[in-house]
């Protein structure tokens, strides 16, 4: 029998309604309110403690609430963490996501919750945890709890977990290699599947892609820089130009790291072999001969000497853009952008290979 802890809000914890939404986090031994339903359904998992927190307390004092809940869990043994179901309650959904994420990061246990697809918590947290597709209001309590309990039981038994769509949780954006026969499907080879898909498409019949394209972020166009002589400009690249030793050991492929390196002394641009590329997605011969063909620091310096532009940031920013997932690229982009903001950079020339 595995032990679980269940997180619920003030309402489902039977503390009170909206007037009690500032209720401080609290841990109780045993089950409270809807938690009993879970225990009546699950066969190999038992909720031993219930954490209750008011939705407003979690929303307005998030860091404090999470710290207090994590402190309450110190010394409590548990194998699985469950939150909700949150239905279509926005604050509750966000709270379930935040608590699950914090618990997963600290304890490394499976975390499971349930929300309606309209709950903003799905968009915020579906990549971080199992969020089961739930009903839009509390009348779905039993059905949603059944899904959570059944999945918790399967984790407890160490059973093979199926793809998100088959299990019923929102896809986390993780791809596994599977054999169709292992997930109870007819083994049809990829070439046949793709031709079937194409025929269905040509006939205007429905078909299901196996590689859905991620939804793309659209970024509003930044206003023009009024005068480049009066702002600080920085160079950024996904072309993998690094100091010869690659001091941060940025990966040559599927990068998860980026680096920032001092170029304040390079008045005529990059020099070789002091700088080179570690990008494994293109022939490095030309970039290693002259790294300025990837990051045009020599031309930027020329414009600077001519007075066309003013200050150039003391650092350039670099990573490798081959095999890099959009998720990792977006994270690195945000991190680099934050540093650029801190350094008062107002214009960027980014070169991609």
């Amino acid at each position: 029998m595995l032990k679980a802890i269940h997180y619920i809000n003030q309402f489902f914890g039977q503390v009170g309604g909206e007037d009690m939404a500032d209720y401080e986090p609290e841990i109780r031994t045993g089950t409270v309110g809807c938690t009993q339903i879970f225990n009546s359904l699950a066969k190999d998992v038992e909720v031993t403690h219930t954490v209750i927190c008011g939705d407003n307390f979690m929303a307005s004092r998030t860091d404090e609430a999470l710290a207090r809940i994590l402190a309450m869990l110190e010394g409590v043994e548990f194998d699985i963490f469950i939150a909700g179901p949150a239905f279509n309650a926005g604050r509750y959904g966000a709270a379930c996501g935040q608590v699950c994420k914090a618990v997963k990061e600290k304890h490394g246990v499976p975390v499971i919750t349930s929300m309606n697809e309209e709950n903003p918590g799905v968009e915020l947290f579906h990549k971080d945890m199992y969020i089961f597709r739930g009903g839009n209001r509390a009348t779905f309590m039993k059905q949603d709890m059944e899904k959570l309990a059944a999945f918790a039981d399967r984790i407890a038994r160490g059973g093979k977990l199926l793809p998100a769509v088959m299990e019923g949780y929102f896809p986390r954006g993780i791809r596994h290699e599977v054999f169709l026969e292992d997930i109870g499907r007819e083994p049809v080879m990829a070439a046949d599947r793709v031709v079937d898909m194409m025929i269905a498409k040509l006939r205007g019949e429905p078909y299901q892609t196996e590689l859905p394209m991620p939804a793309l972020d659209r970024v509003p166009v930044a206003p023009a820089v009024k005068d480049l002589r009066k702002v600080r400009l920085a160079l950024v690249t996904s072309g993998g130009i690094v100091p010869r030793e690659n001091p941060d050991r940025i990966q040559s492929c599927s990068a998860t790291k980026w680096g920032k390196y001092d170029i304040s002394g390079l008045e005529k641009g990059f020099t070789a072999p002091e700088y080179k590329t570690i990008h494994a997605g293109y022939d490095p011969e030309q970039a290693d001969r002259n790294p300025n063909v990837v990051v045009p620091l020599d031309a930027i310096r020329a414009y600077q000497r001519e007075g066309r532009i003013g200050e150039v940031d003391d650092y350039y920013y670099t990573t490798v853009g081959t095999g890099t997932t959009q998720g990792e690229a977006a994270r690195m982009g945000r991190e680099i952008a934050a540093v650029l903001h801190e350094r008062n950079v107002e214009a960027v020339v980014l070169t991609a290979t």
């Binding site: 793309l216 972020d217 659209r218 970024v219 166009v221 930044a222 206003p223 023009a224 820089v225 009024k226 005068d227 480049l228 400009l233 072309g239 997605g281 293109y282 022939d283 490095p284 011969e285 030309q286 970039a287 002259n290 300025n292 063909v293 990837v294 045009p296 020599d298 031309a299 930027i300 020329a302 414009y303 066309r308 532009i309 959009q326 214009a347 020339v349 980014l350 070169t351 991609a352 290979t353």
Partner: protein
């Protein structure tokens, strides 16, 4: 500044300056060093001009060399 402007457009880049190729965006080993420099200087200059230009939609800035 990139060679694969179609991909840049697909992923939502707003201002694009075409480059020469993937392995040498701003170079060309077939050119004499002076001409290669002129190309890099020109296209980097187009990128600087692009930064100072207001656009209302995704835009590819043309290059002459």
């Amino acid at each position: 500044m990139c060679n694969l402007t179609n991909i840049a457009k697909t992923v939502g880049v707003n201002k694009m300056v075409p480059t020469v190729s993937v392995p040498y965006p701003l170079g060309n080993p077939q050119l004499r060093p002076d001409d290669e420099w002129a190309l890099r200087y020109h296209r980097t200059g187009v990128a600087l001009d692009a930064l100072e230009t207001d656009v209302s939609e995704q835009t590819i800035f043309p290059v002459k060399i």
